[in-house]
């Protein structure tokens, strides 16, 4: 499977798009998205303008954008250190928040039980005090009912293992280090004498790392490993799930056997991942979907990412 910045961008875009589309179609909203820039801008302006977007969805959108940016920067010859640090901090902050959430609430997969509003942020942690305006938490509780099936799915989707994300960020910063600084800091820096002996070794090691990085699906972050967790990035490696989501939207009979066979909550996160497509079709909401709108949007989407 080809993995490069453009392909990753497409996947992230498609994922963002599908997430948002499901939400918006579930609300009876239509969006016309006519070209790539408008599409991305559409997502972020949807973030800005919509008060009804649930917090986890917003967070996921931001996280996707951050990761895309970091990946783009990684491919630049000379990434901007200031921006990279700011974005990496944002990613860490989101990761920390998700970890707090997941440690506070067990994952209920495909159950009809709505997660409680208090499981959404507003969580105070020692490191981060993230206090949302009270308005949003009220909205979350009101939309919690309709999100009953999808809430826990979203949570499980969003769960990223600590190690994976930390190693991802570490790898980016390490690469920045290589690119930028191969002279040791000294109190007296004589001009003209700037390359220490250790740099050739670093160069060799880093180049090899980089080559290996480019192979494989997890090329976004160098030392990222496939683990048993439902890591967000692992999703990207499995195209089939996306295909299933798209196809399912065309189905005329919504009572698909894929639906909602209630499964006992399972601690095995791999199963969570497998049940994701079946539980996450909008038909679980039993909201009639206009087929022409869907096909229009999907057609646009195909043009954007399929070609």
């Amino acid at each position: 499977m080809l993995c490069n910045g453009a392909a990753l961008k497409k996947r992230v875009l498609r994922k963002n798009y599908n997430t948002l589309k499901r939400f918006m179609l579930g609300r009876g909203l239509k969006r016309k998205l006519s070209d790539y820039e408008e599409n991305m801008a559409g997502l972020s302006s949807a973030f800005d303008s919509s008060r009804n977007l649930p917090y986890p969805l917003k967070r996921q959108l931001v996280l996707n954008m951050c990761l895309t940016k970091l990946q783009t920067y990684k491919m630049l010859v000379e990434p901007n250190l200031h921006r990279s640090v700011l974005i990496a901090n944002t990613v860490r902050q989101i990761q920390e928040e998700m970890r707090q959430e997941s440690s506070q609430q067990p994952i209920n997969v495909c159950s009809g039980i709505a997660p409680h509003p208090h499981s959404y942020p507003g969580i105070d942690s020692s490191g981060i005090s993230l206090h949302l305006p009270s308005g949003s938490s009220q909205q979350e509780s009101s939309c919690c009912n309709s999100w009953s099936a999808e809430g826990p799915i979203e949570n499980s989707l969003l769960m990223v293992s600590d190690d994976d994300m930390s190693s991802a960020i570490s790898s980016i910063l390490k690469d920045l280090d290589f690119m930028e600084d191969i002279s040791p800091p000294t109190s007296l820096i004589p001009a003209g004498d700037d390359e220490p002996l250790k740099s050739p070794e670093n160069t060799c090691l880093k180049l090899e790392d980089d080559r290996q990085d480019l192979k494989g699906a997890e090329c976004v972050f160098g030392s990222f490993e496939i683990s048993n967790s439902t890591s967000y990035l692992k999703d990207l490696a499995i195209d089939d799930i996306f295909e299933d989501i798209d196809t399912s939207m065309y189905d005329s009979d919504f009572c698909s056997p894929l639906l909602m066979a209630p499964r006992p909550p399972s601690a095995a996160t791999e199963e969570t991942l497998k049940t994701f497509p079946s539980c996450n079709s909008p038909s679980t909401n039993n909201i009639p979907i206009c087929r022409t709108d869907l096909s229009e949007l999907d057609h646009i989407m195909e043009i954007l990412v399929g070609s």
């Binding site: 954008m65 200031h82 920045l176 930028e180 109190s187």
Partner: protein, 458 residues
């Protein structure tokens, strides 16, 4: 509050008169066409200490210096116009062969030295190298050499029959810029600031992780005075964004960070100023918290007041004035474009959220100015607490036309003459502004044009 304002309007007239400055268009420099050549993008603007000279640097590595005419001052119809005095190529693009990186020639900062003799000196820097330039005038030239023709060819000595003494004859004024010092190879990361010490002998240069102290006469060594690079780059969470020497205390300087903190350091305390003397930080407002809180708290510019008692910082949405004696919060906060707070995700997506706006004080430290989008710039009067939004646009380009205040409509019904947030042009940003040290003359840089505005002289 409302009543006070009404009375004020009656006595002073809304928007003008009394103590309020009325800003008028004076000049605009630069190309007229909409197609902006990348090399013409202005990257820094700076008046010299007398205000007579105004320097700009651009992305193509050039420095253009304008000089104020002196004659019109007597007539006092308007203050003198600024005309081109000197243009020179300060930095060239370089290629770092070891790292396979191109080093941009874009001029990041220009700082003038105070004038000591007939010549002018300035420091200009790109990402890696700082240069000291001498700008001198030549208005006489020697004529009448014995062994040289006028065009410079050598004469055969055997053809010389008489001798004469060469004399200096007047010539058209020629302004020459020559590089006097080149301070190179001291910065691994990108230089974002230079600042000349009040001793006029040393200066500092700051990059993302380190600050170095130089002597103006010595180019082959510098002292590292701040180093925030962690032993393990994976632990890096903060970078240096700006640094400046105190205007009066030659041992004091400040540097700002991407986390919204400012550290004041005293060089007498230790050779390596890693431990600050003061840490200025405002606690976060929890009601404004968002995913982008840290990004918008990153300080893009820090400037001491002329008095040295205050300093001003610019972050993405606001300007803050700090009293050096109070570390826990700023004494004044001015919102530059609060209406953008609800658009942060879009601004993050198109990278505008990383734009680095600068700010400046007027000569008396009573008014501060900074730029915004749509070619708007904002001024805040610290005494009257009034603020004004003006636009740098060629549409108002009749000299002595008073600029009309602009207003952005955040939401709801848009009044006539207001602009809605969604119609702002985010490609037209004013990042660099400068205020004459003594008079009410300001230089405002749009993408590739330099506007000069003056207050209305009656």
């Amino acid at each position: 509050m409302f009543l006070k304002f009404s009375l004020r309007s009656i006595f002073y007239g809304a928007g003008g008169g009394g103590n309020d400055i009325q800003w008028c268009f004076s000049q605009v420099k630069g190309a007229v066409d909409d197609d902006v050549a990348e090399a013409d993008i202005i990257s820094t603007v700076e008046f010299n200490h007398s205000g007579e000279l105004l320097a700009t640097g651009d992305k193509g590595g050039r420095v253009v210096i304008f000089q104020q005419e002196q004659e019109n001052k007597i007539q006092s119809l308007s203050r003198g116009e600024y005309n081109v005095y000197s243009t020179f190529q300060s930095h060239e693009p370089e290629f770092d062969y070891l790292k396979s990186l191109e080093i941009e020639e874009k001029i990041n900062k220009i700082r003038w030295l105070p004038q000591k003799n007939a010549a002018q000196f300035l420091l200009s820097t790109n990402d890696k190298t700082i240069k000291l330039w001498k700008i001198s005038e030549r208005d006489k030239r020697p004529e009448g050499y014995n062994l040289k023709e006028e065009d410079g060819r050598y004469r055969d000595p055997s053809t010389v029959t008489t001798l004469r003494v060469p004399v200096f004859r007047p010539m058209d004024l020629m302004v020459e810029a020559s590089p006097r010092r080149i301070f190179a190879n001291a910065h691994t990361y990108h230089i974002n600031s230079i600042s000349i010490n009040s001793d006029y002998e040393t200066y500092l240069s700051a990059d993302d992780l380190r600050i170095n102290l130089w002597h103006l006469e010595i180019t082959d060594r510098s002292f590292n005075i701040v180093d925030i690079k962690p032993a393990n780059m994976e632990e890096l969470t903060e970078v240096i964004t700006a640094a400046e020497f105190h205007p009066n205390s030659c041992n004091t300087f400040v540097y700002s960070s991407s986390k919204g903190t400012i550290r004041l350091c005293d060089m007498r305390a230790s050779a390596l100023c890693d431990r600050h003397s003061k840490l200025f930080e405002e606690p976060e407002d929890p009601s404004n918290r968002s995913f982008f809180s840290e990004i918008i708290s990153s300080i893009s510019d820090v400037k001491f007041s002329h008095s040295g008692r205050y300093m001003m910082t610019r972050d993405y949405l606001s300007v803050k004035i700090w009293d050096l004696n109070m570390e826990n919060r700023p004494v004044e906060t001015y919102q530059v474009h609060e209406y953008l707070r609800s658009k942060l995700c879009s601004l993050y997506e198109n990278d505008c959220i990383f734009d680095k706006f600068e700010c400046c004080w007027n000569g008396s430290d009573s008014v501060v100015m900074t730029g915004s989008y749509n070619n708007f710039f904002r001024m805040f009067d610290r005494n009257t607490k009034r603020d004004i939004t003006l636009e740098a646009s060629r549409e108002n380009n009749k000299p002595r036309t008073v600029l009309k205040p602009r207003k952005v409509c955040a939401s709801g019904k848009r009044k006539k003459d207001e602009i809605s947030v969604d119609s702002l042009d985010f490609n037209k940003k004013i990042l660099h502004t400068a205020w004459h040290p003594k008079e009410n003359i300001i230089a405002v840089a749009t993408t590739n044009n330099l506007y000069i505005f003056q207050d209305k002289v009656n």
